[in-house]
């Protein structure tokens, strides 16, 4: 009998505390598969963020450090510089990476650190109860934009994959989503590439994953996926914004 689906080695068998319909769990799985596909579990160094995925170390069977809110790219920089043989990655939410940690991510990318960044964009702060994030869509209601995000007073959302992709030292920047099997496959490929780049010393690699937060969006899991497909994707187009290996 052919085994079609197995637990991947880099994940523990702990049950996650994510809400039903949240994409964090699926994205964890894709990250763990990439680590296992490259055979680097025993060299991996993960940096957990502050946000819903703060308990990363409970779900990944690899070495993980827990960073202060937003600082993951700085921790990753430090670790990679003293242990260049390790495979160092951050896994960050949009509040973590694009708000409090905007400086750390831009500068790590600006230096072209040879690390991998997985950026989970769910258009709000999940853990603290659904406040506006720098990625909240214009018009989107959150607990701190009860009338909807008004770009006049709240500013415009940041397109991080494009922003990161515009920096000269960056090797790879892409945006994916995980709303259906075909897109999950594409996301899996992008994440694998972002890790392989590090193993091959290609440089700073960034994957933004559009994700759901049914709990704070006040939607069913199915409607949340629809929201990603219909609303988020029109502001955050999927694609590769930088790939220095293109055409190779």
């Amino acid at each position: 009998m052919k085994v079609m689906f197995e637990k991947t080695e880099s994940l523990t068998s702990n049950k996650s505390i994510y809400c039903p319909g949240c994409n964090h769990g699926l994205i964890h799985r894709l990250v763990a598969e990439a680590i296992d596909n490259l055979g680097v579990r025993e060299k991996a160094y993960g940096v957990a963020p502050v946000g819903c995925s703060v308990l990363l170390y409970d779900y990944f069977n690899i070495d993980v450090v827990e960073a202060p809110h937003g600082r993951a790219p700085a921790l990753a920089t430090g670790a990679k510089r003293v242990r260049p043989d390790m495979v160092v990655f951050t896994y960050q939410g949009d509040g973590d990476l694009a708000s409090i940690g905007m400086s750390e991510i831009i500068h790590a990318a600006g230096r072209g650190e040879n690390i991998t960044v997985i950026f989970v964009n769910n258009a709000n702060y999940g853990m603290t109860g659904g406040q506006m994030a720098p990625t909240t869509l214009p018009g989107q209601k959150t607990t701190t934009t009860p009338m909807g995000r008004d770009t006049h007073s709240h500013g415009f959302p940041f397109r991080m994959a494009e922003l990161i992709g515009s920096l000269p030292a960056v090797a790879y920047s892409a945006r994916v989503k995980v709303t259906d099997p075909k897109n999950v496959m594409k996301a899996s490929k992008a994440i694998l590439k972002a890790f392989k780049n590090q193993v091959d010393n290609v440089g700073f690699s960034f994957v933004e994953v559009l994700s759901t937060c049914p709990t704070n969006w006040g939607m069913t899991p199915v409607d949340a996926l629809k929201f990603v497909d219909e609303q988020m994707e029109s502001y955050y187009p999927l694609g590769t914004f930088k790939d220095i290996q293109e055409g190779e």
């Binding site: 450090v65 202060p68 700085a74 920089t77 430090g78 670790a79 510089r81 003293v82 400086s103």
Partner: protein, 350 residues
Amino acid sequence: MAEKVLMKGNEAIAEAAVRAGVKGYFGYPITPQNEVTAYMSYRMPELGRAFVQAESEVAAINMVYGAAATGERIMTTSSSPGIALMQEGISYMCGAEVPAVIVNMVRGGPGLGNIGPSQCDYNQSTRGGGNGDYHLIVYAPHTVQEAVDLTYEAFEVAEKYRNPVLILGDGAIGQMAETVKLPEFKEKPQKDEGWELSGAKGRDGRSVKSLRLAEGELKKLNWHLHEKFLEISKNETKYEIFNDDYDFLIVAFGTAARVSKSVVKELAKQNIKAGLFRPITVSPFPYEALKEASKKAKKILVAEMNTGQMLFDVRLAVQNDEKIEFLGKPGGEVFSPKDIYEKAIEIFKK
């Protein structure tokens, strides 16, 4: 054989860290400690070690945290406003029990203040400064040689207790040049201590974290950190008594203590039997030793380049406020021997 060379304090501290086996240095420019960053920017790469000029002190201390979590010897240096920004990372490292060495070449504050030598960060470094219930080990050298020796030792003490160590200097210590004996090169012994993130070879993953969500876990950590500090206090408290034959005692640390030493000698010429009690660790503070030393002193003069911060620890130790007088010099200014001498004579004549 240990070499003897003339070096500026900041560079001597940098070289001491290099010789102690520091594998990564992460810093951000701020006067009066810029020579450390500049020195490390060529010294570290030439030895195949890591140097990054961080985008901010917030990033620098978090680079330290991420790098030190691998178990390597890591350092950063800064000065007052920069150290203020580092408090977030320092609190996290204390919570996660990650060792590292941090140097604060204190300047005048609050705020942007000035760049003169000062002791105004005593409270910040000995009482926390970041959030939570934690302690740093804080050394206050009074000469360049002592700064070299304490920096060299600091890595091992940090590792022994898995606790960050802070070197509390000031602009004067950083800027003055003195002849120093440099220590031998050493390396951290390669062995798995059971906590560091070195890659999960043949084992399950580990985590280094300050988050303690499960019921009672944080309380356990808080008590553990407390017990650990009691242990540190028992084993690592350091002080010096200069001229043991006294009935008048000056209490001072760092540069103020250095100046006080010449005052003690001057007072001897006037047949005033003065001594100096100098805490070398200001955290843990040598309460017991000072209590003992204060007994034979008729008067005690606390001299600090601030408005009276260590003064509270001295009061706690001596438990006789009548005996204690204070002389402060805030504002990024160094005591002249005359300042302290005149105050001593004034007290003595009372």
